[in-house]
């Protein structure tokens, strides 16, 4: 496929747009105000229509001014009324966005029946079609994005404080009100410029989806922004290509659906909070419990038959685990030099002896603790100790030892090693 020159500006503006919307979107995400973006994207419509009615031409600068002023007005109304506690935030957000959009629809229907003849194409702002992007539009996007990035980098420390600890920010002698005002102004400007390529409803996706994806990959603020920007750009480029290659697919939705695909993948396979990481943590935990179980059984077997080697069948009987599982665990333990494992015979190394001794000690200490302090009958002790022995830390162990005066025998009259 040959790239037309206009494809290049579309791609470059997509790059700028995705990086700067990820920066602002991450700020919104961490301030837990992701839906403010939604209000802004809907509230630009009346402004655009008013600008058209006043100046009677489709001029990007007047649209920018008009759209951003109504968007700022809407944001200000939401924040002011929320501060005054007139209504709860969700009602304010939902009502403001729909009422502003309704007023926009009203103007739009008024414009459409005017006899001026140049009104077609205002709708472009609502659905967005990147292929109609002109060089001028691309330049505006680039200028606004560069301004956002420069301000963000220069004021990084202030922004970070303002995002994560607004109370602390209030105690500092720094004009955070200006930070907030600038943030809103740039948010509105960016929305206005981005609308033409992705459309009204889907511009809010550019703010919400990339930081949500980054939530599954990075824990730090900066790292999250970098991941969000990268993902957003790749998805945008993919969406743009898709809409150029396949007929009847609009750009904005194509970008959002590709972002959604990435979100689903991150949800399943991400590094943090994802399904995969949860299953992995669960498996690691289960492995640890099984390893400790095997070690403890080894110690008990050696204690009862007084030998140095135990074979795998005895272990199978004692632990009731399958042979393959036991073998797997034994190999792991061998790697950590806790046991020697050959020919289905198992021997504990000195380090293994210490480790297994510790588990048995914890088990028996806990049994003693339950019977002394909670006066549980003897047959109730074992189950509880079986669970808790994996969780007792050295500190708790030391405390148990002190409060029970360094005991020698457990309730079943076995030695505490």
């Amino acid at each position: 496929m040959e790239l037309l020159p206009s494809t290049w500006y579309i791609l470059i503006s997509a790059l700028f747009l995705s990086v700067s919307s990820s920066v602002l979107g991450s700020i919104l995400f961490h301030k837990k105000q992701a839906l403010i973006g939604d209000v802004i994207t809907h509230a630009v419509l009346p402004g655009v229509c008013i600008a058209f009615l006043v100046f009677r031409e489709k001029n990007i600068f007047w649209f920018l001014v008009g759209g951003s002023s109504t968007a700022m007005l809407a944001t200000y109304i939401v924040q002011y009324l929320h501060r005054k506690k007139v209504l709860s935030e969700d009602i304010l957000l939902a009502s403001t966005l729909s009422i502003f959009f309704g007023i926009g629809v009203l103007f739009l229907s008024y414009i459409q029946q005017l006899p001026w003849g140049n009104q077609s194409g205002i709708d472009r702002f609502i659905f967005g079609q990147a292929s109609t992007l002109s060089l001028l539009d691309a330049q505006v996007i680039a200028i606004i994005s560069v301004a956002i990035l420069t301000l963000f980098i220069l004021g990084f420390r202030a922004v970070k404080i303002w995002v994560f600890d607004i109370q602390f920010a209030g105690t500092l002698n720094f004009p955070f009100k200006i930070v907030e005002a600038l943030f809103i102004v740039f948010l509105c400007l960016l929305v206005m410029t981005g609308l033409q390529s992705v459309g009204i409803v889907l511009m809010s996706a550019m703010f919400v989806l990339p930081p949500s994806i980054a939530h599954f990959w990075k824990r730090s603020f900066t790292g999250g922004i970098i991941v969000a920007g990268l993902v957003s750009f790749v998805a945008s480029a993919f969406g743009i290509m898709l809409s150029l290659l396949v007929p009847h697919i609009p750009t904005g939705p194509a970008i959002v659906v590709s972002l959604f695909g990435v979100l689903i993948v991150s949800l399943l396979l991400g590094k943090y909070n994802s399904l995969y990481s949860k299953l992995k943590a669960k498996k690691r935990h289960q492995d640890k419990i099984d390893e400790e179980h095997v070690l403890k059984s080894l110690y008990k077997l050696m204690e009862s038959i007084k030998t140095e080697t135990v074979d795998i069948f005895a272990l199978h009987k004692a632990t009731r685990m399958s042979f393959s599982r036991i073998e797997k665990i034994c190999k792991k333990l061998e790697k950590r030099k806790l046991i020697k494992f050959s020919n289905n015979k198992i021997q504990l190394t000195p380090a293994g002896k210490a480790a297994s001794k510790r588990i048995v000690r914890l088990h028996r200490l806990w049994e003693l603790y339950l019977s002394e302090y909670l006066q549980l009958p003897e047959d109730h002790l074992h189950e509880s100790a079986e669970d808790i022995e994996h969780y007792i830390t050295p500190e708790v162990e030391a405390h148990l030892l002190t409060i029970m005066n360094f005991p020698k025998k457990d309730p079943h009259q076995k030695d505490i090693p």
């Binding site: 995400f29 837990k32 105000q33 992701a34 839906l35 973006g37 939604d38 809907h42 009324l81 005054k84 506690k85 007139v86 209504l87 709860s88 969700d90 009602i91 957000l93 939902a94 009502s95 729909s98 009422i99 959009f101 309704g102 007023i103 926009g104 629809v105 009203l106 103007f107 739009l108 229907s109 008024y110 029946q113 709708d123 609502i126 659905f127 409803v201 889907l202 809010s204 996706a205 703010f207 919400v208 989806l209 930081p211 949500s212 939530h215 599954f216 009847h248 697919i249 609009p250 904005g252 939705p253 194509a254 970008i255 959002v256 659906v257 959604f260 979100l263 909070n273 994802s274 399904l275």
Partner: protein, 290 residues
């Protein structure tokens, strides 16, 4: 003219349908979930429309209901299981569903007559062309009967579960401790919201319907001290806004749904200033009368 009557009646009925459900939604602080549902029913509508090629079939309601359920479930399970803040989860899911719907419309429905403008803005007067004919007699637009049906279902739901809904709206935890199955009620409510959205989307569009669900009950909320008063006031305000919206539209020659939402906006603005509960002018208006 007779068609003017139908416009006002349909518009008022839509407001009433949305208002009674919306009251419980704003009390439960879930307004943005309505925003999500109203956008996210789109793929369901489009898929159902592709099969039936009609905007008034029962399949449309079923398709939309299913995609509404799917959205609510996705949003809630992602927020709960994957530690994503609810705002972010709502924003991510509904935009994606909406995008999916738009792609479906523009890639498949170019053969059939369903466009983005119709979905986003809606127009009351469009609904008048499709009339129900019984025994050769014209018995009014189909949309009216659909809305009437939805209104009766919504009203029945609210009246039958009034006590449970009331407890759940004001104290959800208490409601579940005394044995009210809050999750069934919650999902039924959300299902009805999806149905109502679809029934009214042809008239008001998928974004303006949010105003019917949230702004209207918010006006009633600011002027009432009990739930039943709030519901009654909500229906009354809905009718008022529908009538005034119609006349504004007639006067300026603009879209009826836009004008109705404008009059809701004006009412809400007035309510925010003069409400006896929380109004901004409360200290000046009500303090001296003591």
């Amino acid at each position: 003219m007779i068609s003017d009557w139908w416009i006002i009646v349909n518009s008022a009925l839509t407001a009433a349908c949305c208002g009674i459900l919306g009251s419980f939604i704003i009390l439960r602080r879930m307004s943005m979930l309505v925003d999500a549902i109203s956008h996210a029913v789109l793929p369901g509508i489009v898929i159902a429309y592709l099969f039936t090629e009609s905007l008034q079939s029962i399949w449309l309601l079923i398709g939309a209901g299913l995609s509404g359920f799917a959205t609510v479930w996705l949003i809630e399970s992602i927020a709960k299981r994957y530690n994503l803040h609810e705002d972010a989860s709502i924003g991510s899911i509904y935009t994606s569903m909406f995008a999916l719907g738009i792609i479906l419309i523009s890639s498949l429905a170019f053969r059939v007559d369903l466009d983005q403008e119709c979905v986003l803005y809606g127009e009351v007067s469009h609904t008048l062309f499709d009339v129900l004919v019984i025994n050769g007699k014209v018995a009014g637009p189909k949309a009216f009967y659909l809305l009437l049906g939805i209104f009766i279902i919504n009203l029945a739901f609210v009246l039958l579960n009034y006590k449970q809904l009331k407890v759940m709206s004001f104290d959800g935890v208490f409601a579940s401790t005394i044995g009210i199955s809050t999750s069934i009620l919650h999902y039924t409510l959300m299902g009805l919201v999806s149905f109502t959205t679809v029934a009214s989307f042809e008239m008001v569009g998928s974004i303006l319907v949010i105003a019917y669900f949230t702004a209207l009950p918010a006006i009633a909320y600011l002027f009432s001290y009990s739930l039943s008063a709030m519901l009654r006031l909500c229906i009354l305000t809905g009718i008022l806004c529908a009538v005034s919206g119609y006349f504004i539209a007639l006067w300026w020659g603009v879209s009826v749904s836009g004008a109705t939402v404008l009059s809701m906006g004006i009412c809400l603005l007035v309510a925010i200033f003069v409400s006896p509960k929380k109004g901004l002018l409360k200290p000046w208006l009500y303090a001296k009368s003591k």
